[in-house]
């Protein structure tokens, strides 16, 4: 019974993720693409929750939906003539893009066949937050600190770029 429910939820989420990702790629209106991206992010957050990665799911929501996507929308809304497809959703390089995608698909299929996947009978829904915190501050302390320095540099860089030049006296 629980297996059926679990599978059903998985396929519903996967349908939403794939479908909305298709809209993101194929829509002729960039605003609709951006809003379809919301559904993709939500679906991925749902998949995380389904894999018992609760902290990751909430982070996905907070960072991608609440932060990055709003910034994207903000930038899109500020630009004029967003309804003209030739400017906003131009597709360039059909040949090179197509060949890259073919290669990528081949690579991904190869990996998915070759990897020895571990199969679990049941998903053990356990809280992950404290484990993530402990690992970040013990085992992975150096990458964590380096990442925070990187983010700090990005922040300061943004302030420097955005700062108004002083007017001539």
């Amino acid at each position: 019974m629980t297996h059926i429910v679990y599978d059903a939820v998985f396929y519903i989420l996967a349908f939403f993720v794939v479908g909305s990702a298709g809209i993101v790629a194929l829509s002729r209106n960039i605003m609709r693409s951006a809003f379809a991206l919301v559904v993709t992010f939500l679906g991925v957050a749902g998949l995380f929750a389904l894999l018992s990665a609760d902290f990751l799911a909430a982070t996905q929501l907070l960072v991608y939906v609440g932060g990055i996507l709003v910034l994207i929308l903000f930038a899109v809304m500020l630009s004029s003539r967003i309804k003209e497809i030739k400017i906003s959703n131009l597709s360039v390089g059909v040949f090179s893009g197509g060949s890259i995608i073919t290669l990528l698909i081949l690579l991904l299929t190869y990996i998915s066949i070759k990897t020895p996947w571990k199969e679990l009978d049941t998903v053990n829904f356990a809280p992950t937050t404290s484990a993530i915190g402990n690992n970040l501050l013990t085992k992975y302390l150096l990458p964590f600190e380096v990442l925070s320095v990187l983010l700090l540099v990005g922040l300061i860089g943004a302030v420097v770029v955005a700062r108004k030049e002083k007017d001539e006296p």
Partner: protein
């Protein structure tokens, strides 16, 4: 929630829950029931608050307010709701029709999803998520998407301006909100809403507000930036009536319009409950230990009452702020956030960390400091109340001369 469902199952069907093949169905039913109750609570709260807010506003502005539908007008909100139900659901001709129709759903989902992790009393919570408060913070970010969607798809400059302002405002104020919540999370050592309450105590000096001067600052920053995130005065720039007609919801009508103000009023409960559970001690009963609360139904009910009273007190403060403060300008809004709130909340976060090391919670000096902090807080509150009394007394003769009506009515005799 799961334990409660299991216990109910055993009580009603007299079968050990683990042995039953229909357990999944039972859980689904319980989940459905819980969501039904929560949705109705949120909707009723939003409706009744709309009426209460209008009456309070009227008193503050020396008007009467809605008083005709029912005794003292208490079913005015039902009349308004039914009226909006019957209105035509208009979609502007040049609007992006799909996005225009979808926007209210996002607002609705984002806000009512937060109710899942909000506690009401000991064990009275739809889902005691391990990441409770983080989940609320993350899920309510869907609201801003709905606002932007509605504002952009309306194809109206007022709506677009409102949506742009809202995006800038909510993105900015998410940072001080998160940082000031971090203080509480650090003190409690957990993200779950119930554990945060359990880490506090019943008496005011056992609340997190009075833990140190830094948490007091964090409390005010959290309260103010939640106002900004909920688009309440003094941060109601996205729907500034005097500038933008009605902001992002200008082009909406009927039921779709109703969703936006309803979500705003329901959000007041979310803010009140969040402030209560993080800083004001939640449902803890003074002078009673946690074990005693767990074992007694009466104490759980008292806890629910205490939680509701605290939350409603915060809601009333929000309402009074709306009718006393002017709206800030856009540049002031961004300026206050980035030059004051973010650094101050960062400082209070670091300050609380150091404080926790120097004056641990249980030691005598820590307790003394908390009691002193509570004394200061109580002193400020009493001074504030005395000030209100002073204003009231000095204004009474002037008011009664000009208005030719008594300044104060008992609530049951209001005109």
């Amino acid at each position: 929630m799961k334990e409660l469902a299991d216990r109910l199952f055993l009580m009603i069907f007299n079968i050990e829950p683990a042995n039953s093949p229909y357990l999944a169905l039972w859980y689904a039913l319980i989940i459905f029931l819980a969501s039904f109750i929560l949705l109705n609570f949120a909707a009723l709260f939003a409706g009744i608050t709309s009426f209460v807010e209008r009456r309070i506003a009227a008193r503050i502005q020396s008007r009467i307010g809605p008083n005709l539908v029912g005794p003292q007008g208490i079913i005015q909100w039902l009349a308004d709701g039914i009226k909006l139900f019957l209105k035509e659901d208009l979609v502007p001709k040049d609007a992006d029709k799909i996005l225009f129709r979808f926007a209210p759903y996002f607002v609705f989902t984002g806000l009512f999803g937060a109710f899942v992790a909000l506690p009401f009393g000991y064990g009275i919570i739809a889902a005691d998520l391990n990441i409770g408060i983080y989940y609320i913070l993350a899920f309510t970010s869907l609201v801003v998407l709905g606002i932007i969607m509605g504002g952009w798809s309306s194809n109206s400059k007022w709506a677009l301006f409102g949506a742009l302002r809202s995006a800038a405002q909510i993105i900015s104020y998410e940072i001080p909100t998160g940082l000031s919540l971090m203080i509480v999370i650090m003190l409690a050592g957990s993200l779950s809403t119930q554990s945060i309450i359990m880490a506090q105590g019943g008496w005011p000096w056992e609340w997190f507000v009075f833990h140190s001067p830094f948490t007091l600052v964090g409390f005010f920053i959290f309260f103010t930036s939640s106002l900004a995130e909920g688009n309440r005065v003094p941060f109601d720039l996205p729907e500034a009536e005097s500038e933008l007609v009605s902001g992002y919801n200008t082009e909406y009508s009927g039921l779709r319009f109703l969703i936006f103000p309803m979500a705003e009023w329901a959000n007041m409960w979310v803010v009140g409950a969040l402030v209560t559970l993080t800083y004001l001690g939640g449902w803890q009963v003074p002078g009673v230990s946690l074990e005693a609360i767990q074992s007694s139904l009466l104490l759980i009910l008292i806890g629910i009452a205490i939680f509701c009273i605290k939350s409603l007190a915060v809601v009333f403060i929000i309402i009074q702020l709306r009718w006393t403060l002017p709206r800030v300008r856009v540049d002031q809004m961004a300026f206050v956030c980035w030059t004051y709130f973010v650094p101050i909340s960062l400082l209070s976060l670091i300050g609380t960390m150091i404080w926790m090391l120097i004056f641990p919670w249980e030691t005598i000096i820590g307790t003394v400091i908390r009691i002193v902090m509570f004394g200061i807080g109580a002193g400020v509150t009493i001074w504030y109340l005395l000030r209100i009394r002073y204003n009231y007394i000095t204004d009474k003769p002037r008011f009664e001369r000009f208005k030719e009506a008594p300044q104060w009515y008992p609530p049951w005799k209001m005109p």
